[in-house]
Point group: C2
Chain length 174, copies 2
């Protein structure tokens, strides 16, 4: 089952500030850059508890009726999610993929720094689309982390947008 | 005087491994991506001692007869540089720029992680060209570091290359 990452970062590679906010990404003012088209192709979103808590505080739940899985080994209060299709799982990335595949998922969208890093390190990410916002913020939550060995990527396509976004799509070489 | 950065990084933002090597950038096998054209426009290269020591160990000195300035507050043995136009300076970035402008430089090329970060934080970098090599290495010497405040960039152009390089050029908004 393909696993994709689709994420915005500063040019220096942060997905959020240290406190979890990501005002620098532009929010609702961000130019359309293919997120909706991507989102339409996935049938489950997988994220960690930190990302869930940030997203749950949004004025509206952004994942519509898509199946959302919050990874946590400790109990998580899912009520702030307000979503009909919200569940908690725990375990290693390959267990999560197996469980989701067994319950009908065909394309996973993995989100959040720690979760992306865990799935990457487990060799389970197939595609990474990074959209770089033209700003340096200097510190925060990085998209990428330590890897057990070099991970080769294959560049698929890069698109640029009027406001300065640069979106690059890579396939993970396995 | 314009100050430019022109640098290759992994997709996760490293210019070198922790030990200073940068095999992952492709070395002599790197597809032409505008470096020679850029290099022809600069008349002085500014780097820190660490970068100098790495470059001095190359089989051949890569800066030809271009003026090269090694920044260091401690004495540096310049003899490994084998270059006719090699000098040491110390001081704050704006002092370096002033000294170089006073001695005939018109376009500086600032290289090396710490030096790039110092010049960026001093508000002295005008243009940043980052060429991303399609690999994640996970740790090493990062191009960017902590910044005193957000640094806005203006995207100028992005080019992609057959081997998977993605080169993005930014102007620093002042």
């Amino acid at each position: 089952m393909p696993v994709s990452v689709f994420v915005g970062t500063s040019v220096d590679g942060f997905i959020a500030r240290a406190n979890g906010t990501f005002d620098f990404l532009g929010g609702d003012d961000t130019e359309p850059h293919g997120y909706e088209e991507f989102f339409a192709t996935v049938d489950a979103v997988v994220m960690g508890r930190n990302t869930f808590e940030v997203v749950a505080a949004f004025p509206s739940w952004p994942y519509e009726q898509k199946r959302v899985v919050v990874l946590s080994s400790k109990p998580v209060d899912l009520s702030p999610g307000r979503a009909a299709r919200l569940e908690q799982m725990s375990g290693e990335p390959h267990e999560i993929v197996t469980k989701l595949a067994a319950t009908g998922a065909h394309h996973l969208y993995v989100d959040g720094g720690i979760t992306v890093q865990r799935f990457l390190n487990a060799g389970l990410v197939d595609r990474i689309t990074v959209t770089r916002v033209p700003v340096l913020i200097g510190s925060g939550i990085p998209l990428f982390g330590v890897v057990p060995r070099d991970i080769a990527l294959r560049h698929i396509a890069t698109n640029t947008y009027r406001g300065g976004l640069v979106k690059s799509e890579y396939e993970v070489v396995k």
